[in-house]
Structure formats: C-alpha cells, structure tokens
Symmetry: C2
DNA sequence: CTAAAACCTGTGAGCTACTCACAGGTCAAA
DNA sequence: TTTGACCTGTGAGTAGCTCACAGGTTTTAG
C-alpha cells in the first residue's frame, strides 16, 4: 500500500518516525492503517509545499498530542513563501545575466585554449553572483 | 592561496581532479600555480552558473587536450538556461498556489485534530504539484 | 504439492557539493 | 624554543530519498 509513493520512501518515513505502523506478530510485517495513510499523504503534500521532514514530524507529533498544529503551519508556510520568493528573484537575476551573456557571446570567437584562458565565454562572466541556490 | 574560496573546497576540487597542483617534495605541500588558480576561478564561476562538477571537469579536460571547449559550453549553457527558466516557472506556480492558499486559509478555522484530519490547512491543498525542485 | 515469482524485512551505501572535525606534521614569528 | 598558524589525509555529516543486498514469507501457476 504505497498510494503512489515509492515503498522505500514509506519505509524511510517509518524509520524517521513519521509513520508508526503496527506489526503483524506472525511475520513482523508492517501494518499500515488508515491513520498511517493519512499521515503519509499529509507528509507528501507538506513536502511538495517545501516543509522539511523535521517540520513535518513536529506537526505530526503535535497533532498526536491533540494540539492544533495549524497556527504553526500558517507560520512555517509564510516563511516558506518568503523563501520561495527569494528563490524566484535569485533565479530571475541569474536568467537575466545568462541571457545577457548569451547575446554577448554571439560576438565572441570560440578560441582554442591558449594556456592563458580556458574558455573566455565563462571567464568573462563577471559581477558577483549571490550564491547559486542555498540559504542566505 | 584560496582566492576567497574555502580551502576545503580547493582541496575537494583537487581530490576530484579539477586541480592538479604539483607537490613540494620536501614537505608534500601542494603547490598551486597560476594555471591552477585559473582553473579554480573558472570552476567557481561555472558552478555559479549551474554547471555540475562532472561538466566542469569535462570542460577542463577538453581544454587540457587543446580542444576548444567553448562550443560545448554554449551548449550546456543553453540547456542550463532552459532549466533555470523551468525552475522559475515552477516556483512561480508554487508561489501563486501558496498565495491563493494563504488567503483561502483566512476563512478557515484552525481546528484541533479530531482523529480524522491532521491539519485541514494542508490536507485541503490539492491540485498536482509537479515536484518541488528537481529534474523533470 | 511444489517451485518459482513476488513481496517483505533490516542494514548499509550512494547521490550532490561541499563543509567540518580530527590527529598529526611543518613552519614562521617572538 | 615554544606558541600559534598553517598544511596533510581520512572520514563523517548535511537532505531526502533511492537502490542494492541477503534472506524470510507469501502467493500463484502448474
């Protein structure tokens, strides 16, 4: 019962404590019930939204303790939105620079490496680029 | 001589074969020359542009063999640009959905989990999301 | 009934591109 | 000469899976 999810992922989530299936005492097989399926689907959706596994586990644990996790979700969600917007801005900047470079390269010769340069196309790429894609 | 690059990164690149410094036979220290510095700077710039280490090594090896790597660079560069644009589009979609969700959530109650749902806010997030951020 | 196929188990490694920790050798300044 | 700053290689950790392996179980076909 993977519900479209790679079984290894399900087992991974189980190891990580996101799912807590019972065990068949006969053969030690894991028994996922409807609750686990809900948790799994929740986890997958949350991952798509950019939540980390620790965040998801936290939400799940709070839900287990009967505390409403939703205010926290709103919180992390807004943070995540801000992050997404930062990523977009960064990528747009990168795209602009790449486009500029590509048209500049139209006029540049290919140039076999001469011992001084490796590839002018890239070596002439300047301006500070603020990190390719991580946290600030 | 790190030129603003973390020494561990330099050593990592050396292990990976991007840099091939000579050795001081006395103390086994690595001796980076101007050529290595050029390769390092090239590699860092290429990384910022989204080239992978194998791609960079390939370019560097071609340059070593005195083949002009630039046509290949233009090639990979355009592929990378297309990828960046795909990523941007994906993130913009995500952002739009997140914004929509956030305003929809204004009207939703927080709702303590009741054994049937974990957090409506996320469980009611639907529509296929095409993968958060990887290759297609 | 049996043999092969299919699925389950836990453990451990591999992916990317670094980054950091550790133990020990080397070297320059005070 | 001692202290501190550097250098060395090795190995582990990061995130979130994914896959390989060896062995046990269960289902299915014949």
């Amino acid at each position: 019962m993977g519900a479209g999810v790679n079984p290894d992922t399900v087992r991974f989530y189980t190891r990580e404590g996101l799912l807590k299936p019972a065990r068949n005492p006969d053969n030690n097989y894991q028994l996922y019930d409807a609750e686990d399926l809900r948790r799994l689907r929740f986890a997958r959706k949350a991952r798509q939204l950019g939540f980390s596994l620790p965040e998801i586990r936290q939400i799940l644990e709070q839900a287990e303790d009967d505390h409403s996790p939703c205010p926290m979700v709103r919180d992390v969600f807004q943070q995540r939105l801000a992050e997404v917007e930062r990523e977009i801005a960064e990528l747009q900047q990168l795209r602009n620079r790449m486009n500029a470079a590509l048209s500049a390269w139209q006029d540049m010769p290919d140039g076999t490496p001469d011992g001084h340069t490796i590839c002018q196309l890239i070596e002439h790429w300047d301006e500070a680029v603020p990190e390719t894609g991580k946290k600030e």
